[in-house]
Symmetry: C2
Subunit: 292 residues, 2 copies
């Protein structure tokens, strides 16, 4: 396993971690400058943050600062209720791919969606198996576009508590089943993003990481699971503050040959989003060295 204790060469910051500090948006250009000033070499930005600053502006800044993108957040939300919403979803996913290419991202992260309408509190139906079939179909279609562009797709299994409203791919095993079905030759065009928060509980975690192997392991996201957790979405912990054995997780993916970034992604409405952004980044660096 790589030694992270002396530097933060392999730290990436998912920019949702510092997107809104003390109620104020922290604009993406300022986040990128603050990362570069601290020797942080990689980021993973969200589409709305990029759009707010302008894609070309961010692309130039990323290049000027010598930053890499460990991923781009995000494509997906593949489920639909009619032909019009299906078409809009496909078009939007193609745009996400194009943006990821412009920014030279390592992969497009896919949060695959779940029961249509559930995220706004009005689920159109209870057919989870049907939603899963739409997701597989949507990934298959996007994979053609991704192959053309040479931009890998990373399916991110989300914690089962998001199965209704955010993503109906909920285990690494399930994600890898989709990968095997759609990319049986393991070409590198399709893989998974392993986010500690979503998968740490899984009794088959290490077995499925071994199954994934190097070619399917496209991203590693870290944060921590707090006890108690007081909110289903925005109460993630800083690495070291919770119960996830992050070193064991990293050892497991690195044993398969993973040599990329560990990307910090923390949604924390009551704690980290209430602090100065620079303090959060400094803490990420210190915890990345000590706890990841």
């Amino acid at each position: 396993m790589r030694d992270f204790s002396h530097d933060h060469r392999w730290l990436s910051i998912n920019t949702a971690t510092v997107r809104k500090q003390r109620g104020q948006d922290w604009p993406l250009p300022q986040i990128l400058d603050a990362c570069a000033q601290r020797g942080i070499r990689a980021i993973s930005p969200w589409r709305d943050q990029v759009a707010a600053a302008g894609l070309d502006t961010i692309a130039r800044q990323v290049q000027a600062l010598g930053l890499e993108l460990s991923g781009y957040c995000r494509g997906g939300m593949f489920t639909y209720t009619d032909a019009a919403s299906k078409q809009a979803m496909r078009d939007d996913n193609r745009r996400a791919l194009d943006e990821a290419c412009t920014l030279n991202a390592a992969c497009l992260v896919l949060v695959v969606g779940a029961l249509p309408g559930a995220l706004s509190g009005s689920p159109a139906h209870r057919d989870l198996a049907g939603a899963r079939a739409q997701v597989t179909e949507g990934i298959a279609a996007l994979l053609d576009d991704a192959r053309e562009r040479g931009l890998p797709l990373a399916i991110e299994p989300l914690h089962p508590m998001y199965a209704a409203d955010r993503a109906c791919i909920n285990t690494l095993e399930q994600a890898l089943d989709v990968c095997d079905a759609l990319d049986p030759n393991n070409t590198g065009a399709l893989g998974v993003a392993v986010d500690a928060y979503h998968v740490w509980w899984d009794p088959k975690l290490h077995q499925q990481i071994a199954r994934a192997g190097r070619a399917r392991l496209l991203a590693l996201h870290v944060c921590d699971w707090l006890v108690p957790t007081t909110d289903l979405l925005n109460d993630r912990g800083m690495m070291g503050d919770g119960v996830i054995d992050l070193k064991a997780l990293r050892a497991s993916v690195e044993a398969q040959g993973y040599a990329g970034y560990s990307e910090v992604e923390i949604f924390s409405a009551a704690n980290w989003w209430q602090r100065d952004g620079g303090e959060v980044l400094d803490t990420c660096i210190e915890r990345h060295r000590r706890c990841v």
Copy 2:
């Protein structure tokens, strides 16, 4: 599949559903009377409710009212940090078994525990695999006592969001792996409690119900998953108010020959626990007929 639409012969009430209404404890003897008055034929009480009224008092009342126990809540919490806490856990589980026998319960439900201390906010370690090993060892020891008494143990896999603090058995597959290891001859002494809330999201749900088969399916619990869910513990929904396909779940367990109760277990601090207990029971009856 059995027709539930015309009566509620196979409805059981988990008494946590109405334990505290509008801030006032509803004593178990009154809950039992209210159930019997409505033609509800089965209950599943919690140990602390029984203890508050007295075990013998409840045993006599259950018999007088002709009630059955679809289960007894609960044994488990098998993880420990030292010899003294291990011994205390084993003694307490034996007492739970004896109480279940006195009440003639169909099974003792096991919520197996997770990282020691996590439930009070101070996890002793991050070794989830170690906790799982202690759980298997604890079930093995209790199984000897259960066999002597002829009282089946039902492992209840809990939703992965409880993996840190309540139960580190989080899927039906994992629970059945433990059953197969400890009871390879499928004697009926060890099985699972399938609670819709905990397992509905699982892509392997129906496959694993088929694997369980009749002998391992000891209990079926129902409620619903709300969107949004605002609390990790106490925001369960009444059947029909959420996204779980309860009829499909019941069809799946009944296809294996399950012919027991469907037990309503709803923890709902902001909604159902704020209503009159009788209204809650009446609603359970109506929803059991229409939605389960």
